[in-house]
């Protein structure tokens, strides 16, 4: 069984990693919160400032997700990919872009009017070049999201995959990312329990719990 080796949830102006609250700042609006998170985690990535809010949210969640255990060089660029979903696509930026059309259409905003741009931002940051996909669903569809990632790992298309949900529209938002890795050790032992390798079994139950904030 593939394993979740890290998770990150950002909602209600709070940032959790593996279930642990790392940062909160409830005294500001969403852009202010995202910027304060960027500063809190001492991130240094000037491209952050030009991103739209959806990409900032997804990018920040990926930074927190990968900040400790994920060592660059563990995998080849083509061996890491992403499978993400949300409900509102890029509508938050679509509305902002369409405001500019009345005067001068902004190419800098237009480029963010696609939800997979967030995947592009994360890939550029971490040099991930493997399979990636973006899906739209009204609610987090754990069964489907589990199936797509398992297919990629079980067929050796990827060795590690970031999955999850990054949705943002106006003041409402939620990001839940999990890092799924092939568990060679427990596969060899035939164990499906939470073993020495750490992490959580990658199942619909687990990712639903992560989504609800029940086990981190």
């Amino acid at each position: 069984m593939n394993r979740i080796t890290a998770s990150c949830r950002i909602s209600d102006h709070s940032v959790y990693r593996n279930g642990q609250l790392l940062f909160e700042n409830k005294k500001t609006d969403l852009p202010g919160f995202l910027l304060s998170g960027y500063h809190h985690f001492k991130l240094n990535y000037p491209k952050f400032y030009k991103m739209d809010n959806l990409s900032k949210l997804g990018w920040l969640a990926a930074e927190v997700l990968l900040k400790e255990d994920f060592r660059p060089g563990t995998y080849q660029p083509q061996e890491v990919g992403l499978s993400l979903a949300n409900a509102n696509s890029s509508l938050d930026t679509d509305l902002k872009y369409y405001e500019t059309v009345k005067e001068i259409p902004s190419p800098a905003l237009f480029v963010y009017t696609l939800p997979n741009i967030m995947i592009g931002e994360i890939c550029i940051r971490h040099n991930f070049k493997g399979e990636s996909a973006f899906y739209i669903s009204p609610r987090f569809d754990a069964g489907f999201m589990e199936n797509t990632v398992n297919y990629l790992l079980d067929n050796d298309i990827l060795k590690a995959c970031i999955g999850g949900w990054v949705d943002l529209l106006g003041d409402e938002y939620k990001a839940v990312l999990y890092l799924v890795e092939k568990d060679e050790a427990s596969a060899a032992q035939g164990s499906e329990e939470q073993g020495d390798a750490g992490g959580l079994p990658f199942t619909t139950t687990t990712i639903n719990q992560l989504f609800q904030g029940e086990n981190g």
């Binding site: 409900a87 509102n88 872009y97 259409p105 997979n116 741009i117 569809d141 199942t203 639903n208």
Partner: protein, 435 residues
């Protein structure tokens, strides 16, 4: 499999997963609904005659300046008036909206109807899933909302198109624009029992949707996948590409020395995939792959290495080598950088001598429908043993000596490679074969 305790997963709980069939996946039926025709046969015949859907349009609603595009006529009807259910209201999460289908949804319904009928597969079958692909779906409702607000400030009016009136910031409008709302309406129209899936991944959306269906069938999750994609041209989309100065001043010229940008187009297409052996005589999906450049959001890779990686992975999954590929249906958008990147990727994959075409000169760039339309034409090219010429191409304008197909080529064909790339640095490759 265990049902998630939150209950947020409503999908059929992987009842077929235990089969792990690695089944063969065939195209059971297909449809293209474009300005060139409302069936695949009409479309293929128009292409074989060298007919393009691209015209000069002067429509101030879409653009202040005249522009080339392949558009449906304004009077085009995709569904018969008075279709049952079109005038009811439905309750959504955030309010009540008219059921009236938008042009985007009508196009999808028209295309899916034809393809489903031809396949004989039932939408209500528990083993069948609906997958949609689009980049911007109902985004033009923003424009309707803006013009309504201008005409009737503060009032809630029903527009002639029947779309939800009111300002764009209203939750009910935002819910109506959402791609999953269209997916629910369409699934409900046909009576699909499984929740629909929507792939939205820029210009590779169509291929990604096919790949998603292919993998769900391969893994035994479903037996059939009805995969449909559409995009319509709006002021939103056109102004965006214009702001990038990406729109050609003439009909687009893929891979040509004088190419200077894309031409947009609209359309819908559907492929029905199935592992049922009764379709074993059809074109087979052999494998596919996507990759990311990890380089730039709006400019393709400088080396083509990442697309070539996708191509090699797709070939590997298909169990084929470069010498087995008889022709390539390229993305060929006719921007300077896309076509150059594709030429490098094709060369890196050792496919530089294989005949290549781009269909953008016939259809324009149909965005979320492109991967589907072009894969369907590729499948019919395999069947007809004909590679269609690249309209708009005259003189090679990329750094690699590609074999661009510029006249109708009749030759025995067995295996085809389809490629695509898009914003966000995404690339995709798909291999189709004739049994």
């Amino acid at each position: 499999m265990v049902q998630g305790r939150s209950g947020s997963s409503v999908r059929n709980e992987n009842i077929y997963q235990t089969i792990m069939s690695n089944a063969e996946v065939f195209i059971a039926s297909d449809n293209i609904c474009s300005p060139l025709g409302s069936t695949t046969a009409e479309n293929f015949s128009a292409l074989a005659k060298g007919i393009s859907g691209i015209r000069l349009h002067d429509d101030p609603v879409l653009s202040a300046q005249p522009f080339y595009a392949a558009l449906f006529g304004k009077e085009a009807l995709f569904m018969k008036a008075g279709t049952p259910g079109t005038n009811e209201r439905i309750s959504g999460v955030k309010g009540t909206i008219p059921r009236t289908y938008t042009k985007f949804e009508q196009l999808l319904i028209a295309s899916i109807s034809t393809a489903l009928q031809d396949s004989g597969i039932g939408a209500g079958d528990k083993k069948t899933v609906l997958i949609l692909s689009s980049t911007k779906g109902n985004i033009s409702l923003l424009e309707t909302a803006a013009s309504d607000e201008q005409a009737h400030p503060g009032e809630l009016q029903t527009t002639p198109a029947g779309s939800r009136p009111g300002v764009a910031s209203e939750p009910v409008m935002q819910d109506r624009i959402a791609l999953h709302t269209s997916a629910s309406l369409i699934a409900e129209y046909f009576g699909f029992r499984n929740p629909p899936i929507v792939a939205s991944n820029a210009c590779i959306s169509g291929i990604m949707a096919i790949l998603t269906g292919f993998r769900l069938i391969r893994s035994g999750q479903y037996e059939n996948a009805v995969i449909a994609g559409a995009d319509v041209i709006s002021n939103f989309v056109l102004s965006g590409f214009q702001s990038f100065q990406a729109i050609s001043s003439r009909p687009c010229r893929p891979f040509d020395k004088s190419r200077d940008g894309i031409t947009l187009g609209e359309g819908a297409a559907t492929v029905v995939l199935s592992s049922n052996s009764k379709f074993a005589g059809g074109i087979k999906i052999m494998g596919g792959s996507t990759s990311n450049d990890a380089n730039h959001l709006s400019a393709p890779s400088r080396t083509g290495e990442e697309l070539s990686y996708s191509i090699k992975t797709a070939l590997g999954q298909a169990g084929l080598s470069a010498t087995d590929i008889d022709f390539i249906s390229a993305h060929g958008t006719a921007t300077l950088y896309n076509d150059e990147m594709e030429a490098k990727a094709i060369t890196l994959a050792n496919l530089q001598s294989v005949p290549v075409n781009s269909l953008k000169g016939y259809y324009g760039h149909t965005l979320g429908a492109a991967g589907l339309i072009e894969s369907i034409i590729a499948a019919h090219s395999l069947k007809a043993n004909r590679v269609l010429p690249t309209i708009g191409f005259e003189q090679l304008g990329v750094s690699q000596p590609l074999n661009i197909c510029s006249t109708l080529l009749s030759t025995p064909l067995k295996n085809c490679l389809k490629t695509a790339s898009g914003f966000g640095g995404c690339n995709a490759a798909l291999v189709l074969s004739k049994p």
